[in-house]
């Protein structure tokens, strides 16, 4: 019992480690640099397995791009510059958070518009149902009461 519990816990630990992020043996100089790198890798899309970010993907290209991101960081490039470097080559698709521009307005504001439209419809339905109810409530009492 004890033994199987321990095995189970160990397996759990292993799984937790795997789920965290792609671990690259990169020579980070401090924790801040590693955090910045991980944050960037999570913001960038892997173009091979398109629904994964660079941090999660184990594709060869994702590994190359992570290395590129690291090298650019080391060259003193800002996050913005690194993203510009990648969008110049791969397009906006590489960004998990697409920029707000004319062709992404529907993407950014569409849900809000649908929400507002839905709210308007709900309010109208509620009002139209409430109207007869109030009419009944305020109806004069019967004559012979």
């Amino acid at each position: 019992m004890n033994r199987s519990l321990r095995t189970f816990a160990f397996a759990g630990l292993l799984a937790a480690g795997m789920a965290a992020h792609a671990i690259d043996p990169l020579p980070f100089k401090d924790l801040a640099e590693e955090h910045r790198y991980q944050a960037l890798a999570r913001e960038l899309r892997c173009l091979v397995c398109q629904n994964q970010n660079l941090a999660d993907s184990d594709a060869g290209l994702a590994r190359d791009l992570r290395q590129e991101v690291f090298d650019l960081m080391r060259q003193g490039k800002s996050d913005e510059e690194i993203k510009t470097f990648l969008t110049a080559r791969y397009g906006d698709f590489v960004l998990y958070r697409p920029p707000v521009q004319a062709n992404t307005w529907v993407l950014w504001f569409g849900p809000l518009v649908v929400l507002v439209l839905g709210a308007v419809v709900v309010v109208r339905i509620v009002r139209s149902r409430a109207a007869p109810a109030t009419a009944i409530a305020t109806a004069p009492p019967p004559e012979d009461a």
Partner: protein
């Protein structure tokens, strides 16, 4: 009252139209932002004679095709026959970019299936491919005489693509320059 009953149908039709328009699209084909931009310069070791360099400078001035391939790439095998025919036609030089490949494998591949390339540059660590915005093999770039990328073929080049996409563009390029 009548329009209210038609409203859900209208919403459905709009939604269906939007979704239907997406059906024919291939999500793997991401448009390249590099089209119309200067092609990245390269200066890489040649596959067959590693001491030799393959440079973009050597191809400047006339249109050429850069084809990204690897011996590990199944779809490259698929387009290989088309590349061989293109090479035989002498329409334009084809520069191979051997992407993340083992040299022996690449050489064996050429030996087995034939070599359609005027030159093959080796991109062992994938750096060059990143500059070209490559995210899969095969990919090919049509570069004009001024060194501008004019078209990107994502996936295997087929005889149909040669006729429909490559030849008209090539003809327009040579027509533009006497």
């Amino acid at each position: 009252m009548n329009w209210r009953m038609l409203f859900p149908l209208g919403v459905f039709l709009v939604l269906a139209a939007v979704l239907a328009s997406g059906l024919g699209k291939d999500p793997r084909k991401v448009p390249s932002p590099l089209i119309g931009k200067p092609a990245p310069q390269f200066d890489l070791p040649a596959l067959k004679v590693p001491e030799r360099r393959v440079t973009s400078l050597a191809y400047a001035g006339k249109p050429y095709l850069v084809n990204v391939w690897g011996s590990w790439c199944v779809a490259c095998r698929e387009e290989h026959e088309t590349l061989m025919n293109l090479s035989r036609s002498g329409l334009l030089p084809i520069v191979g970019l051997n992407w993340k490949d083992a040299r022996d494998d690449a050489l064996r591949w050429l030996e087995l299936f034939g070599d359609p390339y005027n030159d093959i540059a080796v991109d062992a660590d994938g750096r060059m491919a990143i500059d070209f915005g490559v995210y899969g093999a095969p990919e090919s770039f049509l570069i004009d005489g001024t060194g501008t990328i004019r078209h990107k073929f994502i996936g295997p080049i087929t005889p149909k693509l040669v006729e429909d996409e490559l030849k008209p563009r090539l003809a327009a390029m040579t027509r533009g320059k006497p």
